[in-house]
Subunit: 176 residues, 2 copies
DNA sequence: CCTACTTGCTTCGAGTTCGAAGCATGCTAC
DNA sequence: GTAGCATGCTTCGAACTCGAAGCAAGTAGG
């Protein structure tokens, strides 16, 4: 039986601080992206991921692996980006099922237009009060947490409802 | 990342680690709340905020101040919660405009049902790999960041829109 | 008490999200 | 080969989100 006694106040405080900072930062970034480039956060993430790739191209699946989002959401946003000419979609030659998304020049341009503001926000809100030691500490600690999350079992089999046992999907996502 | 302007790699890494951890944690919590109590994150936040209040009652406005959400979203979720009998709504006696939301016994029960799992998730994913010193470091560092965010100017004067200048709302806060 | 403004909440429409179901294509083993 | 399963993406419906507009109830000033 896992421990379910209440969290001690210090742990709780740390947890709340994390949530708080993440929420505020996310909100600010979202705002900035919309103002500077008419992008939503997911769209920005897609474009940025593409820009990282060798030729600005990636399969939908590979894109999905780097994002924290549902598959269908990705399809939707890819369609939006295509409509806006920031991206093209074409099926792969070696595998008809795969769709290759490619960053267009316009897409790259939007990204360039948006990046400075993005960096400015991150710096202003997040980095300003931090020294090198803080940065190192954050990276170390959160790095460990991240590793933990990726390895932790997905909150195990629930006895609960469903009569038969549906094959339990893998519980998804994320990588990066 | 295709950076056009710097953010040295270490800073970037720290930033990405934060986003990553926050996203993964949020996702896991969301999952847990749904499984254990059929709640969404916003609903849980509302119930938890109410549970904190003296008599389990709060005005809509006061609730809103503690959450990171739009006003209309709050109305929507309050309606959902009322439909599920976890909460009641009634207009205040002293001010007909105000709506007082009150936690019902059923609401409190759901909250109790859900809390252990919530705590278990936070502990398993977030706290496990952290020692006291780490907790203290996180709290200190993120606390400073949070203070910075709350004091930083809201990304400058985005000059006018149409007529008059809309008086800049307070910009988030959050609390609990 | 009228007019005009403010405050508190809800309604509305548009856009976005998710998970389940659908549909091809590709693969493997008999 | 070819049946049966796996893989990759899209479509679908329902739910949730936001900001703008709407509507009462309260507050001032004359």
């Amino acid at each position: 039986m896992t421990d379910t006694t209440p969290l001690d106040p210090r742990q709780l405080t740390a947890y709340l601080a994390l949530k708080d900072v993440a929420a505020l930062l996310e909100h600010a970034v979202e705002q900035q992206l919309k103002e500077d480039g008419g992008l939503t956060t997911p769209q920005f993430q897609i474009l940025a991921t593409l820009a990282d790739a060798p030729d600005g191209r990636r399969r939908m699946t590979d894109l999905a692996d780097g994002l924290v989002y549902s598959r269908s959401g990705l399809t939707y946003q890819a369609a939006q980006l295509e409509k806006a000419k920031l991206v093209t979609r074409a099926s792969a030659e070696d595998d008809e099922r795969s769709v290759i998304v490619t960053l267009t020049d316009a897409g790259r341009a939007v990204l360039f237009k948006v990046m400075p503001g993005h960096i400015e926000v991150v710096r202003r809100l997040f980095l300003t009060p931090l020294g090198d030691a803080d940065i190192a500490a954050i990276t170390d600690i959160l790095g460990r947490v991240r590793a933990q999350m990726r390895s932790a079992p997905p909150r195990s089999a629930k006895p609960r409802r469903t009569t038969g046992s549906p094959p339990q999907r893998g519980e998804r996502n994320n990588g990066r």
